[in-house]
């Protein structure tokens, strides 16, 4: 047992810190710090800077233009990225589709699509969930019927994150309705400019437009956009989901959130003292920080296992459950910290009010984030699904 990083890892961390200091634009970092919405241009710019450095596709093999970092390097980057308030890397092309194409795509698909992910030519979104198929993903109904050199796609996807920015969507579609659910699913790449594709916004409870519905009406998709074999899509989807699940402990995000809470609680005054000295608030804060310290080590244990080549199984589920609970608790503390100023909506509407007095509304939309982050325990396999996986692994059989 040795909890310290190697000299090489420390040097790598310094390199990442220097990159953040030089390359991360201050206005974007400030938006991230205050939890404000980033524009597509903000995200594109950050991707371009990372790509120029060769750090965009961190988990891709070098042959595909990736950085081929190991799990510890990715973890260090995640920590420093959060500490610097850098935007998160939009995962759909880079962490999700990329690995699937590398493992199951043909040469032509790899040669065409992978460089376009790196240089930002394509913005991908994920067409998995449907209105009736959330945690029970295999029950999806969107169907694709072969017609000569095309598939004709009809159906509806939902919870499509950042679909409003996307020009491409990777979809799970039903190509054989007559077999066991998991055996009739295929993995299709669909150009969103094709006639019959319609994107409708879903406004979330915090008022933000982050997710969408995507409707398909007689959408013609060329057969060369089928990834792998027809009716084998479930295998690819599961492979992709294991990639989605790594990093869901969200240690870096929780640390940044904790800093926000501390900043707010130092500024707030209760009974003549800073809120951070209030025994009840301080106890809440300390407990979640204690949990986070332990979880960070759990995360590192899993990271070093993964660096040694072991795929995380049940540990990923544990990390996702605990990580989401901790992150949500931190969001809860932030809303408590600002007191009555949790109530105003969208304080960016008030930006520019020329006021010499420090603006009490400038707490950032902490209550909106509290509500938005309820999603952490719902998406990517809800915490109930994760607990089911853990229980099934340990207890076997019955649910």
């Amino acid at each position: 047992m040795d909890l310290s990083y190697t000299p090489e890892e420390d040097a790598f961390r310094a390199e990442v810190q220097a990159f953040m200091a030089e390359e991360l634009p201050a206005d974007i970092a400030e938006k991230v710090r205050l939890g404000r919405d980033l524009t597509k241009a903000n995200m594109d710019l950050w991707h371009a800077k990372l790509n120029a450095r060769g750090w965009l596709a961190q988990n891709w093999p070098k042959e595909f233009g990736g950085a081929e970092w190991n799990a510890v390097q990715r973890h260090i980057f995640d920590e420093e990225s959060n500490a610097a308030n850098a935007p998160r890397i939009v995962p759909f092309g880079l962490s999700m589709l990329g690995p699937v194409l590398q493992k199951f795509g043909n040469k032509a698909q790899q040669d065409y699509w992978l460089p376009r992910i790196l240089d930002g030519s394509d913005w991908w979104c994920q067409g998995y969930s449907e209105p009736g198929a959330g945690s029970d993903l295999a029950s999806l109904k969107t169907k694709a019927v072969r017609d000569g050199d095309h598939y004709i796609v009809n159906g509806q996807k939902t919870w499509t994150t950042l679909g409003q920015h996307a020009n491409m969507i990777f979809c799970l579609v039903r190509t054989d309705p007559d077999v066991k659910q998991q055996e009739g699913i295929s993995f299709l790449l669909i150009d969103m400019d094709t006639p019959g594709v319609e994107v409708r916004p879903i406004i979330l409870l915090d008022g933000c437009h982050e997710v969408n519905e995507v409707w398909f009406t007689d959408v013609r998709v060329p057969v060369e956009n089928l990834v792998g074999e027809e009716n084998k899509g479930w295998t690819y989807a599961k492979y992709l989901l294991t990639h989605e699940r790594t990093g869901l402990g969200g240690v870096g995000s929780s640390r940044a959130g904790l800093e926000t809470v501390k900043r707010l609680a130092r500024a707030e005054v209760q009974n003549g003292n800073p809120l951070i000295q209030n025994p009840h608030f301080a106890a809440r804060l300390a407990k979640v920080e204690i949990d986070l310290r332990a979880m960070a080590t759990t995360n590192l244990r899993i990271v070093s296992q993964a660096a040694a080549g072991d795929a995380p199984g049940l540990e990923a589920s544990m990390l996702k459950v605990k990580g989401s609970i901790i992150r949500q608790e931190i969001n809860d503390l932030a809303r408590r910290a600002v007191g009555p100023y949790a109530m105003p909506f969208a304080s960016e509407a008030l930006e520019g009010a020329n006021d010499p007095v420090p603006d009490p509304l400038d707490a950032g939309p902490v209550a909106a984030q509290y509500f938005n982050n309820r999603k952490l325990s719902i998406f990517g396999g809800s915490n109930e699904i994760q607990r089911g996986i853990i229980a099934k692994t340990v207890l076997g059989g019955g649910r």
């Binding site: 959330g134 409870l205 009555p340 325990s377």
Partner: protein, 356 residues
């Protein structure tokens, strides 16, 4: 012991519940949320005509209720439907301030739904401390700042708390008075509020002070607890319906024991919340008022968070969408913890009062 509502209160509850069920559905309410005014004048008039505002006043004051259980009945129903019209601030706080000051002409207009007032008491930096008043009255003029004043832009007058020397008093100010500046904004859980800056604003003393203010906040605390309870009842009912209808893995998700037990816990805690509201309403104005109110508000804060979060979690993604009823209801429940003292504030107050 009698835990039944009186005939009058039962009628009030039935009438109000029916009215809101018919007039205040999700679609209309969501249109109100997105409107510029942040409330619906027709609903306000409708509530006035039903006698809902009058129920918040005693007969002496020109109403027909005014006790803790009248307040609780009204606000539980408003909470059940997620009503954003300013019944608490305009009807109860400003209204009862006017009544205490003997301004029966204004009370009458307010009960009739014709007069809107705002209640401007809490200040930036005060958090939930009702005695933190730095606005001053000097030579009949007010100077200071007030925080998150509900529906202030729609009000004709403001009831403002201020210090004259050591004494806290309430003052009446016209909304369009010179020196009064309002920064108006929407609220996360619906409705609007504003930051109020007063710079030498002409005011009329209402002749009431700290003890009336304390009574008002006590009444408002009962109202806020009851409103949260009503919203929790809706959240729980929606969750129950969803568990019985939503199918995953070939069966209703309510068939999974893990969710059954969590639903049961919600129901158990909901009964705790109901009793806490009964305690608060029953002890309003009595010798055990302060401890009871802090006990109730603390419990409502704790149970509220549990109910809001668990209702969202058991629904899954659908509850995250603005247009679904639970989204608004959950926000009302959580934001109830941000008025008149949150869970921690009332825990500390309960401890302090217990030790006294």
């Amino acid at each position: 012991m009698n835990f039944h509502l009186t005939e009058e209160r039962q009628m009030l509850q039935d009438t109000l519940r029916r009215y809101l069920r018919d007039q205040y559905g999700t679609e209309r309410r969501n249109r109100i949320l997105e409107s510029d005014a942040g409330y619906d004048p027709d609903i306000w008039t409708g509530l006035a005509e039903l006698g809902v505002i009058g129920a918040l006043f005693t007969e002496d004051q020109g109403g027909f209720g005014g006790a803790g259980f009248d307040i609780a009945v009204v606000f539980e129903e408003l909470g059940r439907a997620g009503v954003v019209e300013p019944m608490l601030d305009c009807g109860l706080l400003a209204g009862r301030a006017l009544a205490a000051a003997g301004r029966s002409d204004m009370v009458e207009a307010l009960i009739g739904g014709e007069l809107h007032l705002a209640f401007a008491h809490y200040e930036p930096g005060a958090r939930y401390d009702p005695e933190h008043v730095q606005t001053v009255c000097s030579d009949g003029r007010l100077t200071g700042r007030k925080a998150v004043v509900m529906h202030v832009a729609a009000a004709a007058h403001l009831v403002v708390s201020a210090r004259d020397g050591d004494e806290i008093g309430l003052y009446l100010v016209a909304r369009d008075a010179e020196g009064l500046d309002i920064r108006d904004y929407p609220l996360l859980a619906g409705g609007r509020a504003g930051e109020v800056v007063l710079e030498g604003v002409t005011c009329a003393p209402m002749g009431v002070g700290a003890s009336v203010l304390a009574d008002l906040i006590a009444m408002a605390t009962v109202a806020q607890c009851a409103e949260a309870l009503g919203a929790m009842e809706t959240a729980t009912a929606l969750t129950r319906d969803y568990l019985m209808t939503r199918k995953q893995f070939g069966r209703p998700i309510g068939a999974f024991q893990a969710l059954q037990h969590r639903m049961s816990d919600l129901l158990i805690e909901l009964e705790q919340a109901r009793s806490a509201v009964i305690n608060a309403a029953g002890h309003l104005g009595g010798p055990d008022q302060d401890m009871t109110l802090s006990a109730s508000k603390n419990l409502i804060g704790r149970v509220g968070r549990l109910v809001a979060e668990e209702a969202i979690q058991m629904h899954g993604g659908i509850a995250m969408t603005q247009e679904y009823e639970l989204a608004h209801i959950a926000k009302r429940i959580v934001m109830a913890d941000h008025r008149f003292g949150d869970e921690d504030y009332h825990l500390e107050r309960f401890i302090a009062l217990s030790a006294a």
